[in-house]
Subunit: 150 residues, 2 copies
Amino acid sequence: MKARMDTILRPIGTIRSVLKSRAECPKQGSEGAPAAWLELKKRYADALDGLSVGDQVVVLTWLHQARRQVQRVHPRGNPRTRLTGVFATRSPDRPNPIGLHEVTIIEMDGTRLRLQPLEVVDRTPVVDIKPVLMCKPAAKAGFGKRKRAR
Amino acid sequence: MKARMDTILRPIGTIRSVLKSRAECPKQGSEGAPAAWLELKKRYADALDGLSVGDQVVVLTWLHQARRQVQRVHPRGNPRTRLTGVFATRSPDRPNPIGLHEVTIIEMDGTRLRLQPLEVVDRTPVVDIKPVLMCKPAAKAGFGKRKRAR
């Protein structure tokens, strides 16, 4: 049980976006979300080594405005949709409101990364960055073409 | 800053697997990982509503055996690979060791879900379940076919 005690996320950085309220945010990045900056804390600079402009990454955020006690929602906030368990939806309201965002790095400036598209609100904490795995059909079909050889 | 204080993950369940040590675990689910059970805490039963056998989901785990202070690794644990920042790898060793696992629900028994494939060690805490989004090329090319109409 010891392991479970240390489940505190330590934000590695913050999103700076033109989106200033949850109401302004598209439901998904693919629905017209703008580019945004990820301002990484300088102490994590070494962990960026190997990432470059053009890479596809999955950014994990902590959706700090979410309501964690919610278990069912109307998908897409539409009251005419059937009430559905949050694990069957991408609602930000869920027990552990971690956001997954597949983005492209379009600019790098030290520990600042410009990412596109990103649908989260300004000042959302970031908790991880992972490369998109290239073994899936999606990668072969298109995303992989933008990956640089390293 | 208030929002950042509440970044404690609350495990929603636990993985029960035949994999009993990190050394036994494949690097990726696609590399021969077995099926495993996700034992969801009963209090989250309502949040499952809408998921069924055959669905593709992303399971988020807390890789509780990871070393959080590591910033560079040799990819795939191979000392002959170049030292690389953890954000450019899928290493479990990283500041916030959240695992992402794209799996299929192959059986459901109340709040127990059998998932395939899953490369994490027995007793790994689970923190979220999300549906695979069907709008990506990958979905159209194949994954989507297994999705049931709801």
